[in-house]
């Protein structure tokens, strides 16, 4: 396993943002430069969007290609759920935000990658956009 220096957690935001930086970051995952973790909540959010508007065939195609990226999914354990509830109460953001922040804190992520301004105020873990993450980790585009 890589050390925690290169371990990052991706917020759902990264998958909703089709910018060059988000794509470049996910391409880094593909070549194995980073250890990238994704909360089960993110998968639920993404699939809730896909199942509303996309055919089953495309969902299969999406799933197959996500598996090729070798992302590590992090289930919502009791520890993460409790922390998530605490962060929701502390910051007043959504339960999903709380769980994703709790995931990043629990796995000792170096960066929680998101472009969501709601998460900029948190102090428990470093938060950065995909572009800043690429710069801070010295990754090539």
């Amino acid at each position: 396993m890589r050390d925690s220096k290169s371990r990052i957690v991706l917020d759902t935001w990264v998958f909703l943002d089709a910018s060059k930086s988000s794509k470049a970051l996910l391409n880094q995952v593909r070549v194995g430069t980073l250890e990238v973790l994704v909360s089960a909540v993110t998968f639920a959010e993404i699939y809730s969007l896909l199942y509303r508007r996309v055919s089953q065939k495309d969902i299969e195609r999406f799933r197959r290609n996500m598996e090729r990226l070798d992302l590590r999914d992090v289930p919502v354990s009791k520890e993460i759920a409790e922390k998530g509830g605490r962060y929701k109460a502390k910051y007043g953001f959504s339960i999903a935000d709380g769980i994703i922040l709790a995931t990043a804190v629990t796995v000792h992520a170096k960066i929680l990658v998101t472009g969501d301004p709601d998460l900029e105020k948190i102090v428990e873990v470093r938060v950065a956009s995909p572009e800043k993450t690429i710069g801070e980790l010295g990754l090539t585009r």
């Binding site: 759902t12 935001w13 998958f15 909703l16 943002d17 089709a18 988000s22 794509k23 996910l26 391409n27 593909r30 959010e45 993404i46 809730s48 969007l49 896909l50 509303r52 508007r53 996309v54 495309d58 969902i59 195609r61 999406f62 290609n65 996500m66 090729r68 990226l69 953001f93 959504s94 339960i95 999903a96 935000d97 472009g115 969501d116 301004p117 709601d118």
Partner: protein, 130 residues
Amino acid sequence: MKPTAKGRLYTLLRNLDSDFHKGLLVSSHLFYSLWDGLVTKQTEIIRVDSKGRISIPRALREHLNLNQGVELEISENKGTIVLAPLAENPVDTIFDVLSRALPEGKTATEILHELRAEWDQDLDKEASRD
């Protein structure tokens, strides 16, 4: 050794004494020669090792330009294993499929906030029922 289907056909035709059957013999010989040529050019026997691995013969790798790191998609079709080079970049495909699922004209932040507001609305509804 047990005679093959091809051997049995040749013997049968040889034993029949007519020009028609001799013609059949020549035709079948030509057919099998062509078939053997095609099969020997395209088929090679490989063995699965103890870990389930196989090696793609070098000539085939070079012919299809399968260099180290090339990803292949493996599937099964009526008892035949199909290995196909993956042409698509997974990241491009992921964003391509997602782009069709996302509401048009909205930023990632707007979509995310709507999605997360749904969670909390559902939780609020549950709470108000109690």
